[in-house]
């Protein structure tokens, strides 16, 4: 089975306190810690396990800048066989459709049976997988938390509200967006990363892919981010301050009043 997994380099929500820049139109990105989108690790792990069982090849792909190469290498250290970096100034500030258009152009050059994305990335959109599928006229299932590979088709479980699961039969080739919890992504150590440090990763731009630069990037975007802001949510929580002892004393009074103790 030829499997392609789309991955994205994103700011790590666990490692960062997000601040706006002084102009207020972007995050202050100077000290941000980046990593692979959480959902994508589950997708890569699943791809590796499928190939371990039925044979084949796992390719990881990303649309990004030079620094995005590091996330491809990390996923190759996990066990993906190949990496492809799609990078061009013309791709900058693409909306979801732009990213999907770029990925589609490369996917068409290959011969993939299964294409996987994460269920969502840093922007919380959950859009690229479904768009790629529709552009390629392939069937799609989102939020997949179980995969059983059969002959020419696979059975997938979709996680729906309340943790219930919707079982589907889907024909290959298809696109699946992967939900966390489907497996336990393997740990990647420094040694693993070192092993793939010098593997060649091809970089392709708009020209290589035959993409009209005006159809992607900021030029082609129909949905555009105008600014970042911190919403005024009213008062928010009453913050308890003081020594730990004082805080606990105040908290216990409140818990008693509210039926917590």
């Amino acid at each position: 089975m030829e499997i392609l997994v789309c991955v994205k380099r994103v700011p790590d929500t666990a490692e960062n306190e997000f601040e706006l820049n002084s102009a207020g139109n972007d995050l202050d990105r100077d000290d941000l810690v980046y990593s692979v989108n959480e959902w994508d690790n589950y997708a890569v792990e699943e791809a590796i396990q499928i190939v371990d069982n039925v044979g084949g090849n796992v390719t990881v792909i990303t649309v990004g800048d030079d620094e995005s190469e590091e996330v491809l290498r990390r996923e190759m250290a996990m066990g993906a066989n190949d990496g492809i970096l799609l990078s061009d100034d013309a791709f900058e500030a693409s909306d979801g459709k732009g990213i999907a258009t770029i990925l589609k152009a490369e996917i068409e050059k290959g011969n993939y049976d299964l294409i996987m994305t994460g269920a969502q990335a840093d922007e919380g959109a959950g859009q690229v997988g479904g768009m790629v599928a529709a552009m390629l006229d392939m069937p799609y299932a989102s939020l997949v938390n179980k995969i059983e590979v059969g002959d020419g088709k696979i059975i997938v479980g979709r996680e729906i509200e309340g943790g219930n699961q919707e079982m589907n039969e889907i024909e290959l080739p298809c696109v699946l967006s992967i939900q966390t919890g489907i497996n336990e992504p393997r740990y990647v150590g420094i040694r693993g990363i070192r092993k793939v440090a010098s593997v060649d990763i091809p970089v392709k731009g708009a020209g290589d892919l035959g993409i009209d630069a005006g159809s992607v990037g900021n030029a082609g975007a129909k949905t555009r981010r105008v600014d970042y802001f911190v919403p005024d949510m009213g008062d928010g929580a009453e913050m308890l301050e003081g020594s730990t002892g004082e805080i606990i004393e105040k908290l216990i009074e409140k818990l008693k009043a509210k039926g917590g103790l």
């Binding site: 859009q127 996680e159 943790g163 919890g181 336990e184 308890l240 917590g260």
Partner: protein, 322 residues
């Protein structure tokens, strides 16, 4: 004139709450827009929901076909492409069905797409201004959506004020005959119900809920001790279940349990909408988080900036000494 259509999700013949929220969203897009409910399904349920919607929407489109006995987004998408005008604004809920349907639908309709919108700020020319969140709710953004050739937009359930249903008055248009070819390469097989666990967290008045801030499996015990002192049980956010540190039945959120405790102790939980979507009934929320900017502090009643691994044992001890 702006034409807005809203996809009405329903269960067992009753529309979901978001059906009453779309009209508020539509008003914020364009006061003067026309608004049509779209009800897709099979059998008596569709008729019941379409009728119910006539008390809220002046126009209701129903598409009744045996192929829609289960809401398979891949099949429904094909019908919608044939029924919805290509240059309209089409609203869907940002839930597990909407996430399955909407991105592909926007491609097939050649429309703009915007996901998980929490507010609208009106139209300027062909640009619709909207609000969404990124990075798990840590920051908000304004986006502009070009609606010149239509837009598919998913809205976050619970973000717009529900309207009151009035007297029935809307008309129902039957478009079942226009659905077109419904063949699909994805077939629904069956539903598998979520596992029932050893503890029913929905029965507890107090929940000590732990998130990724608990850092390690062995630290769960610290939360268990606090829960015991508070005569309550431990619940958790999704990453704790993904890591297999606690059972799925203890997960609070849209893909877990819906709980209605009196007191909810959010320990090392950032406060994503999928997590908070499972916390109902307006409980007293106490949040402890080491990040003063954590979004949970916007929804909690009481906030404490602290390391839960140090704070919880001290709180347990103080409660046990009472």
């Amino acid at each position: 004139m702006t034409q807005i259509f809203a996809y009405i999700p329903f269960n067992n013949g009753a529309a979901e709450d978001v059906a009453l929220e779309f009209p508020s969203a539509a008003k914020k897009i364009d006061e003067s827009a026309s608004l049509t409910a779209v009800v897709v399904g099979s059998g008596a349920d569709v008729d019941a929901v379409a009728n119910e919607m006539t008390s809220v929407y002046s126009e209701v489109i129903k598409i009744n076909q045996a192929d829609f006995a289960y809401p398979n987004a891949e099949v429904i998408r094909k019908a919608l492409v044939n029924v919805i005008p290509a240059d309209a604004i089409f609203l869907v809920p940002h839930n597990t069905f909407g996430m399955d349907l909407a991105p592909g639908l926007s491609v097939k309709m050649d429309s703009s797409y915007a996901a998980d919108i929490v507010d609208f700020e009106g139209i300027d020319g062909t640009a619709l201004k909207a609000v969404r969140q990124e990075l798990g709710g840590a920051v908000s953004t304004h986006v502009t959506i070009d609606i010149a050739s239509g837009a598919v937009i998913s809205i976050r359930p619970g973000s717009f004020a529900p309207v009151e249903g009035g007297a029935a008055g809307g008309s129902i248009i039957d478009k079942s005959g226009d659905a077109g070819d419904l063949s699909s390469k994805r077939k629904f097989l069956e539903l598998v119900a979520a596992e029932v666990g050893d503890v029913d967290i929905t029965k507890s008045d107090v929940l000590v809920s732990v998130g990724r801030g608990i850092e390690d499996e062995e630290n769960i015990e610290i939360a268990q001790e606090l829960a015991e002192a508070m005569k309550s049980v431990v619940s958790c956010s999704r990453p704790i279940v993904d890591a297999k540190w606690l059972e799925k039945s203890r997960q609070v959120g849209t893909s877990g349990q819906t709980v209605k405790p009196k007191v909810y102790m959010a320990m090392g939980i950032s406060g994503s909408f999928q997590h908070m979507g499972g916390v109902k009934g307006n409980p007293f929320i106490v949040a402890v988080n080491k990040n003063p900017k954590a979004p949970i502090f916007q929804v909690a009643d009481v906030g404490i900036v602290a390391d839960i691994l140090e704070f919880m044992p001290e709180l347990t001890e103080a409660i046990n000494d009472l």
